[in-house]
Amino acid sequence: MSENIYILGIDMLKFGKYPDRTFAQLGGEAALLALDDAGLGVHDVQAMYCGSVFGAYDMTGQRVMREIGQTGIPVTNISNACATGASAFREAWIAVKSGLYDVVLAVGVEKTPRGMLGGHHEGGISPEGLFGSASMPAVFAESGMEHAGMYGTTFEQFAKVSVKNHHHSTMNPKAVYQKETPLEEVMGSEMIAYPNTKLMCSVNVDGAAAAVVVSEKKAREMGLGRAIRVMASALASDPWNPRNPIMPDVNGCTRLAAASAYEQAGIDPGDVSLVELHDCFATAELLHYENLRLCGLGEAGRLIDEGVTALGGRVPVNVSGGLLSKGHPLGATGIANMYEVALHLRGEAGARQVQGAKVGLTHVVGLGTAAAVHLFEKA
C-alpha cells in the first residue's frame, strides 16, 4: 500500500462544442496533455479508468487507448452521473493506494447532447408537467426553494452566484464563456424554472480532462516539484431521507462525502483555500457552502452577499467560472475541477490565482445520487 498518492500530471481541453471530434479523440488529447504534464508516456501507464456518461456504453476508455497507444493495460469504464469524472479519478486513486500500480491514468470525457437533458419516458404517459417537473433546472430550483423556505434565501442571492462565476470565467481561457453578466442581466434573462433563469443554468458542452495518479515511490523518482498530494478521496451515495427520491437529495450525500474527506485529511473546513463545487444551477452553489461546511446552516446567503466566496474573499468558490460559465461536460467535470485546484496550488492560475493557496477542495454531485469530495495540497 502506498502511503501518499499524488497527481503528477493533469490537464483539460477548453470546454466547448466539438461536433467533428469523437469521444476517443477528445479523451485521448486530454490524456496526452496530462502525460506530458507528468513527464511520462503511455508505456508508463499501468491501468486506466475512463469516465463518461453519454459514452458509457461504447467502451470509450479502450477507444481512448487506441488513440494514444494500445499497450494492453486494464481499462475500466465508469459512469456515475455528474460524479463520473471524480469517480474515475477515485478508482485510479484506489488502484494506486492498493499498491497494485504506481502509475494510473484517469480520463473524463463527454459529448453532451444539445437541449435540456432528460425527459425520456417509457410506456404510459409522460409525467412531466403532470406531476410537477423532473427537469434538472426545476429539481434544483426546488432544492433552492427548500433553502429559501428554511432560511429566507432570495432570488437575488441565488442570482449573485451566477454573476460571480461568470465574472471569474473572464479570467479563464479554457471556459466556454468569458463574459460578464451583471445582476440585472442574470435576473432578467429567460426564466426557466423559478428561481433559476437561463443564466443560472450550467452550460451543456463537450470536453475532456485527464489526470496521472502516481504512488509515493513514482512521485519521488520523477520529482515532487509540481506534484499535488491527494489528501482525501471520498464518495457517498444518498442516505435515507424521507423526501428522497420524490425530491432528489443532493445535500445528504455531499455532507457524508465532506465529513469523510475532512476526516481523512485531518483538516477543518477553515483550512481550505479554494473550492471548485458543483454549481450545476445557481441555486445549488449556496446549498453546498453549507454542505461543505464553508459556513453554518442558513449562512450561505450572507456568504454570497459579503463576497466571501468571490476571488479575493476568504474562501473563493469556482474561480474557474464553475459549471455555470466554464461549462459542464458531465463526465469531464470532476477531473476539470481538480485541474483548476492544481493550477492554484502550483501557482500557475494567472490572473485568477488565489494567492497563497495551500489546500483545494473539489466537489461534484450526480443525481441519483453520487457525491464526491476530494482534498488536495501541494507536495
Binding site: G129, F131, P242, R243
Partner: protein, 143 residues
C-alpha cells in the same frame, strides 16, 4: 373527476401508487413497521432501515403542506408551461410531487408551508398508445 366514456378503455392510474379500486381514488402509502419510514414506491426491503417483510400499506391522507416548489416556464419540448412543480409533505409525513393548481404561477402567490389538499382528476387529457386515459393527483390550496 372526469367521467370516462363507457365505450373507451377504463382510466388507468398515472402512477403505480394511485389506487382506483376503491369508491374514490387514493394514494397508497407504505409504512415500515420496524422504523416508521413512509414511502410511495415499492422496494424489496425498507430503504430506511433495511428490514425485510416490514411494510404495510395504508391509505394516505389528502392534506399536507407545501415544502418546496418551482415555477416551470420552460420544460421539455411539447410540455405546456407555465406550471407549478410542488413538493408536498402530507400530514402523515409521506412526501409527494405534483402540480400545484388554482394558484397563479407567481412567487408572490405561493408561500412555502401553505396548507394544500390533494385532488384527483384526469391526467390533463393525456392518453397512451392504446388510447387509454389516466387518473392523476394535483394539489390545490386549502383554507
Amino acid at each position: 373527476m372526469t367521467q370516462t366514456p363507457t365505450d373507451t378503455l377504463a382510466a388507468r392510474p398515472a402512477l403505480p401508487w394511485i389506487r382506483l379500486d376503491g369508491p374514490e381514488p387514493f394514494v397508497e402509502g407504505r409504512l415500515c413497521k420496524v422504523c416508521g419510514a413512509r414511502t410511495a414506491e415499492v422496494h424489496l426491503a425498507c430503504p430506511a432501515c433495511g428490514a425485510r417483510d416490514s411494510i404495510e400499506t395504508y391509505r394516505a391522507p389528502t392534506t399536507g403542506r407545501l415544502h418546496a416548489y418551482s415555477i416551470v416556464r420552460r420544460s421539455y419540448p411539447g410540455v405546456p408551461v407555465p406550471f407549478i412543480s410542488a413538493i408536498v409533505d402530507l400530514d402523515d409525513g409521506l412526501t409527494l410531487k405534483g402540480n400545484l393548481v388554482q394558484v397563479a404561477p407567481e412567487p408572490e402567490a405561493i408561500t412555502i408551508g401553505m396548507p394544500v389538499k390533494m385532488v384527483f382528476g384526469d391526467a390533463l387529457g393525456r392518453t397512451d398508445k392504446d388510447g387509454a386515459s389516466y387518473v392523476a393527483f394535483f394539489f390545490e390550496p386549502s383554507a
